[in-house]
Amino acid sequence: MEITDALALFLLGALVLYLVLGIADFGGGILNGLSSGKTAGAQRKLIQSAIAPIWEANHVWLILALVLLFVAFPVAFRVLSESLHLPLELMLIGIVLRGSAFVFRQYGTGEEHGLWERIFSVASFTTPFFLGLAMGALTSGTLRVSSGTSYLGWLDWFPFSVGVLTTAAGTYLAAVYLTVEAKEVELRKAFILRAYWAAGVLVVAAVASAVLVPSTAGVFQDRFLRFWFIPAAAGVALGASLAALRLRTTKLARVFAVAAVASLVIGWGAAQYPYLIAPDVTIDSAAAPEATLRPLFGALVLGSLLVLPSLVWLMVVFKRRD
């Protein structure tokens, strides 16, 4: 394997981790907005205590992906920064408002609690959506390098559909995670119900995305079908996850949920290869000189050895069942 491919794999890994950890936090915010029924208050309380210790740390995967991009694939970074300017800004605004609202409502004086509650919930929708939109756009082949074109290449059905898909995935993951954390039966049932709904939206969005892949995406659809077993595995994992929820084996459901989302992203990555931004920017054409790539790879391996154990420890301390 080439070093450029290895680094692209790291990038994909960072993306997967951001989705199953960071975007799941956003999913929690979405569920916060959708809390209802007898256990509504308990739902919100659980969401807050689940997210509070980890949401900031989970930014790191996004930063990692960004740094990887501008160090290893600077051409792609520039093109994305220019052609996806507006969606990325909106994604940022979601990040800023979500995080601020979350702490203001947690540590606030209580006066504008309702306002921050609403901002937290609404902002939580925007980041997963625009992240998905961005990913859809760079698949769709509508982001062209030759400028003078509109900055609206991402404004299309396929990216929109992937945006919805990502939002649903984040919501589904959050719901499943929360079923594990919920201690009372009624609360757990509430999140299981929400997980079913999110899974429904997820499946519809996935099918819609598959149908809406534009012709400009070139070989993407063919490659996606060639590696059919990966999205198939995602589907199976999702089914297993739902079955596990039905059987109330929530920890197993969590494992399968993560597997489902991860597989979907890996399948997407395999189909995208070798493009970073279809059809003008490939992994090789965007790559920085080898003199940079080698130490970067070393730093990443070293960093993972330092960072991953800390993350595992953090999760263990907070997610272990007392």
Binding site: A52, V60, F70, S81, Q106, Y107, L296
Partner: protein, 436 residues
């Protein structure tokens, strides 16, 4: 036009740096308070540590999200800079990311696992938060130092080749910029914290909580404010050597001169090529810049007119020195009084002085960074790439306005919240403990 991206970035950086500085300094203060509690068992020490930790949690979060904005804005605002420079200065940014992550993880543990961790582990977690905060600041300043004195690459056909990231990690200006910039953050925050607690002591003179808070804050603010000018002087000498046109602009110095006077105040007139209405102190600039009263100081006229940095650099520089000097005098007085009376800030006069000095550290911090960055113009990479070659062509006015409004809102809310916390003092713990 490079102005909008520059304004956008300046806004985000100016906002973020306050919260990032808090994220470096507050963990230090809260750990010192916890140490005091573990040692003496004093109730107010525990209350202080926990109250400071709560405040830190909110402010750290705002720092984290505004930092994320900056990471994106590097690309959104300066895509052509990142395309060329990304591979060269990726390393300090990556290391900053690791430091931030470590800080976030251990802050999570410090705040939420207080009851689950043994005392030694909890204290260790706190120290790791403080240390990673420091490392983050160091790495980010290293990236800036590279922009001021770029090394670790060769220029060929308008591109960067022979990239050596390790050499780029320690540029020549790092030696002066990192200590001065980092200490500025500690000074700014500790001075502000001291002011807030001095304010409460004027209203509640008997409060042991605020007394202890003041003591710990001054423990950091006092040495920081007194050492800063020394580091600043060193920076001045290094800038004279490494970026002479910047020094000339900061000092409003136009002519190549030996035995050059230091100009206090005044108005740099770029048309008439002189600084008018300034108060000259003879020979002092030569001495400050070169160590000798007859040393040569290169003036702006020794350089191409189009390379002259904007005059804002000088104004910011003078403001920084003004506030820095006031802090030295004020804290110097505090120290003398402390030694003489054996009491820290025993008189209301001193407490009031502490309150007045509160914002000066932050203002000096912002002014100093404005001087550093505007003084680097028209370059984004000094002597290598102009800012106007680096910027995005995208329409940016809307983003500027939008983010400006968001920062205004967040700043307002945070100020209100912290004022409330400080006013309530130790009572804030009971009032917000349901929410953690």
């Amino acid at each position: 036009m490079a102005l909008l991206p520059r304004l956008d970035m300046a806004l985000s950086l100016g906002f973020h740096i306050v919260f990032a500085s808090i994220g470096m300094t507050m963990p230090l203060l809260m750990v010192l308070a916890e140490h005091r509690w573990r040692r003496t068992g004093e109730k107010q020490a525990l209350e202080l540590s926990r109250a400071w930790a709560k405040g830190t949690a909110v402010l750290f979060a705002v720092g984290a999200v505004s930092g994320t904005v900056l990471a994106f804005e590097l690309g959104l605002l300066f895509p052509k800079f990142m395309e060329k420079a990304g591979p060269v200065i990726g390393l300090p940014f990556a290391l900053e990311g690791v430091a931030f992550f470590t800080e976030a993880v251990f802050l999570g543990l410090y705040l939420y696992a207080w009851d689950r961790l043994k005392p030694a582990a909890h204290l260790a977690a706190g120290w790791i938060v403080a240390l990673s905060g420091l490392m983050s600041a160091v790495f980010v300043t290293l990236a800036n130092a590279w922009m001021q004195t770029p090394v670790g690459f060769s220029l060929a056909d308008g591109g960067f080749t022979d990239v050596n990231p390790l050499e780029a990690l320690l540029p020549p200006s790092a030696g002066h910029e990192v200590p001065h910039g980092v200490l500025a953050s500690y000074a700014a925050v500790a001075t502000m914290v001291a002011a807030l607690h001095a304010w409460r002591l004027l209203k509640e003179p008997g409060s042991k909580f605020h007394r202890l808070a003041l003591k710990i804050a001054v423990l950091v603010a006092l040495p920081a404010n007194l050492v800063q000018p020394v580091l600043g002087h060193r920076s001045g000498m290094e800038i004279a050597r490494l970026q002479p046109i910047k020094l000339a602009a900061l000092e409003g110095h136009f002519e190549n001169q030996t035995g050059a006077p230091l100009l206090l105040g005044g108005w740099p007139d770029y048309e008439r090529e002189e600084t008018r209405f300034a108060l000259p102190v003879p020979k002092l600039l030569s001495w400050l810049a070169t160590g000798s009263t007859e040393g040569l100081v290169v003036g702006l006229k020794g350089f191409d007119r189009e390379l002259w940095p904007p005059r804002l650099a000088r104004f910011a520089f003078q403001l920084m020195i003004l506030f820095g000097t006031a802090l030295v005098l004020g804290y110097g007085w505090l120290l003398v009084d402390w030694i003489r009376t054996k009491r820290l800030a025993g008189s209301p006069k001193l407490l009031k002085a502490l309150v007045v000095m509160g914002p000066m550290g932050v203002l000096a911090l912002e002014a100093g960074w404005i001087a550093a960055e505007v003084g680097r113009q028209p370059w984004i990479i000094y002597n290598v790439m102009r800012t106007e070659e680096a910027v995005s062509d995208r329409p940016l006015l809307l983003s500027l306005v939008l983010f400006g409004l968001i920062y205004l809102l967040l700043g307002f809310v945070v100020t209100k919240l912290i004022a409330h916390y400080v006013r309530r003092g130790p009572r804030i713990l009971k009032e917000t403990d349901g929410n953690h």
